[in-house]
């Protein structure tokens, strides 16, 4: 295996991991505030279809991404209204959001199947992209990938050293205590849910405008679910989300690369790697009950009533 091939593999790993990273970062913030939104796949598809249609009709990729993000936010507000406003069961609401988003995106997109657009092109940064091995991986990507690096740093900093980050964590750990000391529980949760929606919408736009610039029904092919697993895999730690997203990205392209090189490893076996890894982490996490409880936000999935 020569260095060019390795550098190509790393490049593809980051590209493949980017939609997972975006969705998982959004879901992480959402879950940190105590809200479990299983509607990622639906929001992803809505972002993809709206972004694609907007980019196609207006000819502006920028507008496409903007509307993709707005579509994600709109979907997440729908979730927020039902799960937070009416205190409905979050799991059921999230599942419904996925089914709704899958159907609605197919409905909106049916006229636009098979229409090509010129997708977002990679921009290789001069000099930096010439660095052997990691140059192409980090500095020859498209702008959304660069944005995902920035968003990762922002979320990392947010939880590590900002006050609003502390508020989100407090609300997720113990909403009643947070409420008692005057923190705005509901507003925090709404904002966290909307951030999750924006990230899923952006990831959807990335799929339909940059990654494979086309719209076809159900094009996310389960990436929303993988991102959900990824948050658990990362045991709610930001830096592990990045690591996990790229690892999942690597696992999903590695079996393609190996087959091309003629290694006789079962492609099915390699394809299940990300899922097997998630199960393994889940098992390891739940081995120790107390540690498991400390890792996940304690109020995750539980509705909050200010009166109680």
């Amino acid at each position: 295996m020569d260095i060019d091939l390795l550098s190509n593999i790393l490049y593809a790993m980051v590209r493949t991991g980017t939609p997972l990273l975006l969705v998982a970062l959004g879901e992480l913030v959402c879950e940190k505030s105590g809200v479990l939104n299983l509607g990622q796949e639906g929001m992803l598809l809505m972002g993809a279809v709206v972004g694609f249609v907007a980019a196609l009709l207006s000819g502006s990729l920028m507008l496409g991404f903007l509307l993709a993000i707005l579509a994600g936010v709109a979907m997440s507000l729908l979730f927020g209204l039902i799960a937070l406003g009416f205190s409905a069961n979050q799991v059921a609401t999230g599942l419904a959001l996925t089914i709704f988003g899958t159907g609605l995106s197919a409905f909106i997109g049916s006229e636009f199947v098979g229409k090509p657009i010129d997708g977002l092109d990679p921009i290789a940064l001069p000099l930096l992209s010439e660095i052997p091995l990691i140059g192409k991986m980090l500095f020859a990507q498209d702008p959304v990938v660069y944005l995902s690096f920035a968003l990762f740093i922002a979320v990392y900093w947010f939880f590590r050293s900002s006050r609003p980050g502390l508020v989100v964590k407090a609300v997720g750990e113990n909403p009643h205590a947070a409420n008692a000391i005057g923190l705005p529980v509901m507003r925090t949760r709404y904002l966290a849910v909307m951030f999750g929606g924006a990230m899923a919408g952006l990831a959807g736009g990335y799929l339909s405008i940059a990654y494979t610039p086309l719209w076809v029904e159900n094009m996310s092919a389960g990436r929303g679910w993988i991102a959900l697993a990824l948050v658990v895999f990362a045991s709610w730690k930001v830096e592990r989300v990045l690591l996990g997203a790229w690892l999942f990205g690597l696992a999903s392209i590695l079996h393609l690369v190996f087959q091309g090189l003629g290694f006789s490893i079962s492609s099915n076996l390699l394809a299940i790697l990300p899922y097997a890894a998630t199960i393994l982490v889940l098992v390891l996490l739940s081995r120790n009950q107390i540690r498991a409880r400390l890792l996940a936000p304690i109020s995750l999935g539980k509705p909050f009533h200010a009166s109680s």
Partner: protein, 364 residues
């Protein structure tokens, strides 16, 4: 599930409105139109398999006009749910019903038994009865021509093949391409990548990119999305479209597309039912019947290569060229088809071995 109910609701509303206007205008059709039902496994928006079947349905409507009325149900899961959908169609007066996926076989057999007067046709299956016929396209004929063109267009002598699942249909088509390479450019190597999906644009693009990283410059695919075509376009390589015309996704990369054209079959079968001459039969249709079509060639292909490809197509049509004409060896070099013999459809139908020259093992 949800969406189908929604569609049904829409159809219901549309039917209601239609009935209303018919009553208002006082029009009564002179003759009842022939009702034809179509059951699709995927969304008609897949731009591949189900899309092509729906194009066939639209062709029937256009050809017969008021004399037919077609209904389709998309996104039908293979299994018990399919039986309910097919029975609904039979019950609501459809006289000819096409079920267009392999997994609809047993449900179709069951419903066909209960409605002996309704005619059923099942695509890609092998079970027949008095009122149940089968039909399938010989995609390997188109694939053989694509293999020839690829063998002439590759500069790196590396050709990529994105494969879905190791079932006879896919193995048959890989073999057809390899046989074309063996004959027209034995230096060329076929790299096969299994993606274990019929439809995952992201993965198909990843596979295409992984191949191109390894020097492949012509990509063939047996998966349904145009993502590989786009990936080839972006990197200035060539690709062959599958199932429907994919030239729009890569004007420069698109060498040709091998298209399933179901329109002639659907029109012919509808006509037979109208004439009362319909009979159950296993129908295998290829280029000669117009079921497999290569509508255009890229201008970048040299004229002599196009001429030879046209010659192959003509030969396949008149029977003088057969992709699976002997001598053919298997991977181990054992003679499977002797000189002067041709693999019969019965053998092709359950093909589970690679021909000589294919690299790698057949996944189990």
């Amino acid at each position: 599930m949800k969406r189908r109910q929604f569609n049904k609701l829409l159809t219901g509303i549309a039917a209601g409105i239609g009935l209303g206007t018919a009553l208002l205008s006082g029009q009564v059709a002179a003759e009842e139109p022939l009702k034809i039902g179509f059951v699709y496994v995927g969304p008609i928006g897949d731009h591949g398999w189900s899309y092509q079947h729906d194009q066939g349905r639209l062709a029937v409507e256009e050809h017969f006009g008021d004399k037919v009325k077609t209904t389709y149900v998309e996104n039908v899961p293979e299994g018990a749910d399919a039986e309910r959908v097919i029975r609904n169609l039979a019950q609501s007066g459809h006289e000819l019903i096409f079920t267009t996926s392999f997994g609809f076989m047993n449900p179709t057999v069951k419903v066909a038994k209960q409605y002996p007067k309704v005619k059923f046709e099942h695509a890609t299956g092998y079970k027949l009865s008095k009122n149940l016929a089968t039909y399938i396209g010989k995609t390997y004929e188109g694939r053989y021509v694509a293999g020839y063109v690829a063998s002439q267009m590759t500069k790196s002598n590396k050709i990529g093949y994105i494969a879905s699942f190791p079932i006879p249909e896919v193995i048959r088509d890989i073999n057809a391409v390899q046989l074309a390479l063996n004959k027209y450019n034995p230096e060329a190597e076929l790299k096969i990548i299994w993606v274990n999906s019929w439809f995952d644009p992201g993965k198909e693009a990843d596979a295409a990119n992984a191949m191109m990283d390894q020097g492949v410059d012509v990509i063939l695919q047996h998966t349904d999305s145009p993502a590989a075509m786009q990936a080839a376009e972006r990197r200035g390589k060539f690709a062959v479209g599958q199932a429907s015309d994919m030239s729009g996704f890569g004007p420069n990369a698109h060498l040709l597309s091998v298209i399933d054209d179901w329109a002639p079959h659907y029109i012919a079968e509808t006509q037979k039912v109208m004439d009362g001459s319909w009979e159950s039969a296993p129908m295998v249709e290829g280029m000669a019947e117009g079921a497999i079509v290569i509508p255009s060639f890229n201008e970048a292909i040299p004229a002599d290569v196009v001429a030879k490809a046209e010659e192959l197509i003509a030969g396949i049509k008149d029977g003088s060229v057969h992709p699976f004409a002997g001598p053919i060896n298997n991977q181990a070099g054992e003679l499977k088809v002797a000189e002067g013999e041709v693999l019969s459809w019965e053998e092709l139908e359950k093909m589970n071995w690679y021909v000589e020259g294919v690299n790698g093992e057949l996944p189990k």
